[in-house]
Amino acid sequence: MKYALFLIAALAACGDEAINPVALTGSGGSTAASGAGGSGGAPVVKRRVEQRNPFGNVAAIDNLLWDGDFEWRATFASQYGWYASPSTQFYELGLPPLEMGARCRSGIKCARLDPQWVILGLGVASQHSLNVSVWAKPEDGMCNAVFVILLSQSNSESAVEVPAESDAPAADGWCHFALLVPARDSATYLFVQNGGSGQLIVDDAVITPAVEGQDVLPAGLRIAPESVAAPIRAWARAATRPRIEPPNEERLRFEERMRTRKWTR
């Protein structure tokens, strides 16, 4: 908690630096369900039905993240493209709590973060500049309480804040964070912190190599202090060390269940 507040303060202190986020094209996600509605004398609508791409935002075919849309998370995974921690103490290497269905922006699955929770997405860099985009839906409606940082594995490459396009969410409740950053040499991480007071849904994260002609860099980037970036890098290092661990509880329970179950005809 203390660290989270520090992180918030540290980033806020950088707030007067010039920011010139590059408008990104649509990420390919479909719009979220708008919820039950109806007006005037119209009949009560019990629910709305929506068709999503069950594979998520695969239209971002060159996404450099392992699984930006959270759709390809294996059920019994122990090592995945995202890690989560309840705080910036970074003691844990757990997986993000999963949200499913209409609360997600694209596809079927997304991540759900309680206050102060953080997640880290793993990816690679490219020889090209990087377009960074991620969507977050804060329950408290404050985009500026969500902190998004793009980091590199090497501490010789600055960690930069990925700004929200606006302080307030769009009508559908989603905040869009986007940035174009110069090419990097070392592996890329996307860090998201819920600094708000309510739950945060995170979805549809995309890091793609910039295309020809798009390498017009913003006038300034908001650099995250090394005191903020270093612990995140250390966490990322721990997440990417050799590790083959025993089957997790989910898997053991399922294996036992399937081993002993009878199927009646």
């Binding site: 019990k46 039905v49 995945y80 499913m100 990417t240 661990e245 399922f254 009646t264």
Partner: protein
């Protein structure tokens, strides 16, 4: 209680004018093959459904009669009606459907909400075994009140023979509603007999398992409507993220060729199995593919026989060795399900091929296909024979031997083995590449050690004067030296020091990897501090094999910055130390890497090089249906070369001998013991 069919109108709670509206809608959906929604969001079942469950009249009996009743709760936002089934975390909820006595295909579906849930349908025959499985994948239909549809189509069932269980497993807990089974096709025949993996009797979407063409179409989702996009996205996972450079050079091209088939596959199995094949073709120890069937399908013909590669020195006159592969021998067997085979018997051929060649051939269709990262050793294949023979072989040829000699080549029909009666116990013997155990506390009968077990003690072959000890273990997983195997491994080292052991054999012949904190325990005991390697996560999507000079610069920088892996301690032991290896991955590769050539009193004994899996991995999967691990890094060695794909050669190459096995001897162990005794002197 049988499944029952509800009127779609009653299920949706309609009345009066809404009924008319529903009929209008249905009139426009003459080919409806699934439940659907009215304009107000009310759900109705497909009138063609042969079974539907919305739990309005109570709950059906669970599919396993020993299970507690399903739990339903009143929910105003139930998808259908007013009741839903609650699924507790880590629990499942399944219902049985008694099908019409016809052969046809079905679309099965259900709706879930809440935490992560996975749906599937299991086809079972009279014996109650799970004979086939179909995973229910998201269709993309979701509702504003949280429901997600899971379904699959074209599920082939012979209703004269089989029933269907359908439901969900939920690691996080959730709710289920609106189960539905709708006929979606007719078929003439189903599940013909087949004679092993080489038989072409099976049709599209079928695979020969246990002598029968079983349906595997249901393991995978339908071909995506945006096939080209999904294919390219998946291809880019391999191109961008797969880390090992050597495999990128020599194996990735073949993997991408496999993926080309996804672009024109005409059935779901061909589409998705091409992706599974691509992953397997990457040929890496951390890079694996698996699926729900591994958990659900029950082997009706289990075998309790463990094989390893060796030297069949007693039977070469009858059957010469293969020029490419080592001989395959029985290491040890369980008390039952052993085909009468015994240690030292030789497995000559499987369906006409050398056993290793036959096992390697299974890469085309066996999702679980194992591999070492290097291209020269096949320990994984030898130890998996026990399961794949039962599953994929039609017949095997063996030579039985005893201390007096060997017999002729004998054919054993696997296809004619009778299925076990349900519930028949099977010897729980594990295949651990150890013909014998040598430490008194080790599990002699089962060979099955726990993940955190390390068995240490005075060797059975030694005595309190000679003081040669042993430690036998599999996992190297520990995060801090105390959890996982750490405490037991440290206790074993402590025992050596407390008892003033004069020599030790570290028996790690099945090394399942772990973390580098595992080998550090052995390194600290055995060798002087020295830099070993530097594992580096894949950096950029475009990176390919670096030059030696570039690799050297990376390694040296890692050393100077304190980021390299360092093995050893300032005051290691000087007693003779032998490490036994056979099958390994990851941290179990690093263990011999840190010992190799690092001290004159340390020697590595084994039949061949280690796997060479110097990486780590991340997993991707799709619901409960399939998952894969993909190696995400490579490792730089002090000379600037990259390590993944090149195993650590033993100092002493020694193969298990048939003549030893039949006499109850453990060749590799005996060689290590002889070396230690020679080092100790008279």
């Amino acid at each position: 209680m049988r499944g029952w069919m509800l009127s779609p109108l009653r299920a949706a709670g309609f009345g009066g004018a809404r009924v008319a509206a529903a009929f209008v809608l249905l009139a426009f959906t003459a080919k409806a093959r699934a439940g659907d929604f009215l304009d107000d969001g009310s759900f109705y079942f497909d009138p063609a459904a042969v079974a539907s469950f919305d739990f309005e009249d109570g709950v059906p009996e669970p599919s396993d009669p020993r299970d507690p009743p399903l739990t339903r709760s009143d929910a105003s936002d139930a998808l259908s009606g007013q009741w839903v089934i609650d699924v507790e975390p880590f629990a499942d909820a399944f219902v049985s459907i008694d099908l019409p006595d016809v052969m046809r295909t079905y679309r099965a579906s259900l709706w879930v909400r809440g935490g992560d849930s996975a749906g599937f349908a299991v086809i079972a025959h009279e014996d109650g075994r799970a004979a086939e499985v179909a995973v229910l994948y998201p269709t993309g239909r979701i509702t504003s009140d949280g429901w997600v549809e899971l379904a699959n189509e074209g599920i082939r069932v012979d209703g004269t023979r089989s029933g269907l269980g359908i439901g969900v497993f939920s690691p996080e807990g959730g709710q289920m509603d609106a189960i539905e089974l709708v006929p979606d096709g007719d078929i003439d025949g189903i599940n013909p007999a087949c004679f092993g993996a080489l038989d072409d009797a099976c049709g599209v979407g079928e695979s020969c398992y246990w002598g029968e063409c079983r349906n595997v179409n249901g393991w995978v989702p339908p071909i995506p409507s945006d096939r080209e996009v999904v294919t390219q996205y998946l291809e880019n996972r391999l191109r961008f993220l797969f880390g090992p450079f050597l495999q990128r050079s020599i194996d990735l091209p073949g993997a991408l060729i496999a993926m080309e088939a996804m672009r024109h596959a005409s059935d779901p199995w061909s589409y998705w199995n091409s992706y599974a094949l691509a992953v397997r073709r990457l040929h890496d120890g951390h890079t694996q593919f698996g699926g729900l069937a591994d958990f659900v399908l029950e082997n009706p013909k289990p075998l309790a026989i463990c094989f390893l590669e060796g030297d069949a020195d007693l039977s070469h006159l009858t059957e010469p060795s293969d020029p490419e592969y080592h001989d395959v021998l029985v290491s040890h067997v369980g008390a039952d399900h052993n085909l009468g085979l015994a240690p030292g018997d030789r497995l000559v051929r499987i369906d006409g091929l050398h056993p290793i060649e036959w096992s390697r051939m299974l890469v085309e269709g066996n999702w679980n296909h194992p591999t070492a990262a290097n291209h020269q050793t096949f320990a994984e294949h030898a130890s998996q024979l026990r399961s794949v023979i039962s599953r994929f072989a039609s017949e095997i040829e063996v030579i039985r031997c005893n201390p007096q000699g060997c017999g002729a080549v004998e054919v054993i029909s696997i296809r004619d083995l009778p299925a076990d009666a349900p519930g028949t116990p099977v010897s729980p013997v594990a295949c651990d590449n150890r013909p014998l155990r040598h430490v008194p506390t080790a599990p002699f009968e089962t060979h099955a050690g726990d993940w955190d077990a390390a068995y240490a003690g005075l060797l059975l072959e030694s005595n309190t004067i000679e003081k040669i000890y042993g430690i036998e273990w599999e996992s190297l997983f520990t995060t801090n030296g105390q959890d996982g195997v750490g405490a037991n491994l440290n206790a074993g080292i402590q025992l050596l020091e407390n008892d003033a052991a004069r020599g030790v054999i570290f028996d790690h012949r099945t090394g399942t990897g772990g973390t580098l904190a595992g080998p550090e325990i052995i390194w600290d005991f055995a060798v002087t501090t020295h830099p070993v390697s530097f594992m580096l996560t894949r950096q950029r999507a475009e990176d390919e094999q670096p030059t030696l000079a570039a690799g050297l610069a990376i390694f040296q920088q890692a050393v100077s910055q304190g980021n390299a892996e360092v093995a050893g301690s300032s005051n290691p032991s000087s007693i003779p130390i032998a490490l036994l290896i056979t099958q390994d991955v990851s941290a179990s590769d690093w263990l011999p890497l840190g010992l190799k050539g690092a001290a004159p009193n340390v020697r590595i004994f084994g039949p061949y090089a280690t796997s060479g899996s110097f990486s780590t991995f991340h997993q991707l999967g799709y619901w409960l249906g399939f998952n894969m691990g993909l190696a995400s890094a490579d490792t730089y060695l002090p000379d600037g070369s990259t390590a993944n794909g090149t195993g650590i050669e033993p100092d002493v190459v020694v193969l298990p001998k048939q003549s030893d096995l039949v006499n109850g001897k453990d060749t590799v162990f005996e060689a290590a013991l002889a070396w230690i005794r020679a080092e100790l002197g008279p």
